[in-house]
Every structure is written in structure tokens, then in C-alpha cells.
Symmetry: C2
Subunit: 204 residues, 2 copies
DNA sequence: CTTTTTTTATTGATCGTTCAATCAATAAAA
DNA sequence: TTTTATTGATTGAACGATCAATAAAAAAAG
């Protein structure tokens, strides 16, 4: 039933189907046919819209990265508090956003992490995104911590977020987002407390 | 050149070659032939010793897990200090051990992490190992922290270690082990300092 | 100490399967 | 009627597994 203007619809369907397939059987067995039938279309359409399987995988990774970026920046825009803690908190919240922590997204993330080490294009995407996260964290920490301390704090918190994320993806029960947020905030407050020996109350 | 008793030698060679191949081209393109020629043997030998490719991959993951376990328990045995901090320190040091942080081992770890989500046998291995690490950490924290706090501390530190590890594997320059250790210890000390006082200000 | 036999380790061509990509045919909307 | 979207059979390449053939060492026999 060819109507005009199907392209954006099909692209979205196929990207979604790719995540679902990776969630079901993993990247290795996410064949073109499985993805296509998951989206209710034929296999040939993938090459038509994405030029091939690689194109679809790249588009899917792009989608996941922009989903994360959007989740973070939406929360940062909605802030009325301009403190470093509030901004970093928005970054934490964004990373543990619903759409990111769901089974399909989490497994797709991990699959792409592994894959990006050997595919230059995916590595480039991953790296750009990672550096932006780091730069944001660093910039906020810089407002209350000296140069070197801010860098270390940014690296530490980034590692904490990714680690919680990773362990959540590997656990069959999935990530306990409440506990993850709690641990991340607790660590954040300890990092901030370092500045000027301030006492900081628990975040709930 | 068939000599008797080649089995353990070949097994070791092939496991090593598997890691090297994964390091070079990733798990997806680590074919039986590439692994075999990397070890200087023919492709058929893999099925002979491991029953097939899956058997070799399972054996390789087992090797990596026992390498980590050994690195940790060796350091714990060598302790003369019996404090919780010393034991947990040994766990941190073991996780950032040379053999574990090297390119091939790191990339193989990540590849298996991703793969384990869809292969029950690998998942089982990963899970057993993970729970042991968590139980060890929890047991040590338990000596100085109340029940719930110890659990949270163990989860937090485990996430920190894995996160540093992950980011090290993804970074082309590899992991900065000194900084990683420093961040892990710093977090550990903050967790331990919590004991006795709820709100801690770090004076230096 | 040779020669022969047996055992053990290893090879690599071959087979069947799976997959991504292609493209001529088709069908629905414009 | 023309344009646009979609199909699905086909093609060629790649892979893992298999196994009969081979080669070297070890054991037995002379």
C-alpha cells in the first residue's frame, strides 16, 4: 500500500524493530530478515532506505545517542535552579531515563559499545557523545572545584553512571533505577562536599 | 608434528588466539579460521579440542574469569593487614591487574558481556563470577557498616570498578590504571568514612 | 639398534547452511 | 497513465562442521 511520504515512517519502524530484534536475540543474530519481519515489511526495504544493514545499525545507534542527549537536555532546560548540583543532577536523571533503561535500549547500548571498538563509524559516534557528556560534567564541577579536581570528579561520576548502567543491563531483573539514582547522587554529594568541607544532607 | 600431551598446550594456544582475534577484529569477525591461523594450526583442530566454536568461546570466557579471580585472591592472600579496607583494596587492585586491563583481555571482556545476555551458558558464568565479587565486597563492608549500608556500598563500588573498566576499554588510549585506582580508592574511603557519622566533611 | 606397527595429532578439501544484497516484477496511490 | 513504494526469489560469498587422508612420534618386534 504505497502512500507518499513513507520514508520517515519506515525509517522509524525499522530502527525500532532493530532494537527489538537485538533485545530478543542479540546483535549477532539480528538478521535483516528478522528485523524486517519484526517491522512487518520485507527484507529488501532495508537496503532501500538505509543502503544496507550497516546503514541501519548506524542509524539505530544515532537514535539511541540522540535519545540520551534529548533526555538530558530536556531536564536541564526545565531547571529553575542554576546550581552545579542541579545541572549534574539533570545529567544523572537523564541517563537513568525510562527510555534508556528499558530492556531493548539497554541491550542495544551494550551491543553497540562492544561493536564500536571495531567499527570506526560507530566508534566516532560513541566518542563524540562520550566527550560531550564528560565536557558537560567537567564544566559544572569546574564551577565549584579546582581544575584538576573537577576533571577527576567528572571522570569518576561518568564511570559511576556507566557502571550502574552496565550492571543494570547485565542483570536479568534489570536496573533498579531508584537505587542507581541514589548511589549516583550520594557519590555526587561527596564529590561536591570536598569543596570547602561543606556538610551535605542526603538526597532522597 | 604430533607429540603426546599436546592437548593442554593447544587448548591454551587457542584460547590465547581467540582473545587476540577478538582484540583485532571483534567477536563478530573472529572466525574459526582466523583464530586457528593466529595460533598457527588448522581450523579443524578447534572442533577436535573444544567440540566447536561455542566450546572455544566458553573456554575463553572461563579463562578470563579465572584470571580475574586469581588476580584478586593472590593479592588477598598476600595481605598482612586484615582490615576491611585492605581486603577491598586487594579486590580493587586485582580488578585493575595488568593481565586484565591489556587490550585483548579488555575487549574480550566487553564482547562477552554483550554476548552473555543471549547465551545462557555465558550468562551463567558471568553471573556466578559477579555474585562472588559482590558477596566479597559486601562481606567486607559488613564488618564496618550496618546491613543496608554495606549492601549499597558494595553495589556502588562494584559499579565504580566496572564503569572505570568499561570506559577504559572504550577509550582508544586504554585505561589509565593509576587514575582508576585513585578514583576507586577515593570512593572507597568515602564509603568507609561514613561509618560512625552520617554527614561527613572531608578535611585534608 | 633398526625396522615395523600402532597410536596420536593434525590437516584441509568439501558440504550444507545462512546471510546480505540485488533487482525485475508488482501493486497501490497520484 | 505515471509515479512511488514494496516485494521476494535469486545470487554469490562466507562460515562452521565434518571426516577421510596424512604425517609424525611412540611402541613393539626383529
Amino acid at each position: 500500500m504505497p502512500k507518499v511520504g513513507m520514508e520517515p515512517i519506515r525509517r522509524q519502524q525499522l530502527i525500532h524493530a532493530t532494537m527489538a530484534a537485538i533485545d530478543e536475540v542479540g546483535l549477532a543474530e539480528a538478521t535483516i530478515m528478522r528485523i524486517a519481519s519484526h517491522a512487518g515489511v520485507s527484507a529488501g526495504i532495508i537496503s532501500h532506505y538505509f543502503g544496507g544493514k550497516d546503514g541501519l545499525l548506524e542509524a539505530t545507534m544515532r537514535q539511541i545517542l540522540t535519545d540520551l542527549t534529548d533526555a538530558v537536555s530536556m531536564r536541564r532546560m526545565a531547571l529553575n535552579d542554576n546550581s552545579p548540583r542541579a545541572h549534574i543532577g539533570a545529567i544523572i536523571e537523564g541517563n537513568f531515563d525510562r527510555t534508556q533503561v528499558t530492556g531493548p535500549a539497554a541491550k542495544t547500548w551494550l551491543a553497540f559499545w562492544a561493536s564500536s571498538m571495531h567499527k570506526p563509524m560507530l566508534q566516532r559516534l560513541q566518542r563524540v557523545n562520550d566527550r560531550r557528556l564528560y565536557a558537560n560534567l567537567c564544566h559544572q564541577f569546574r564551577r565549584v572545584l579546582p581544575h584538576a579536581e573537577a576533571r577527576k570528579a567528572a571522570r569518576g561520576l561518568a564511570a559511576m553512571i556507566d557502571g550502574l548502567w552496565l550492571r543494570g543491563a547485565l542483570t536479568p531483573e534489570g536496573l533498579d533505577t531508584d537505587e542507581a539514582r541514589h548511589l549516583a547522587y550520594h557519590y555526587l554529594d561527596q564529590l561536591l562536599a570536598h569543596h570547602g568541607c561543606q556538610h551535605v544532607a542526603f538526597a532522597h
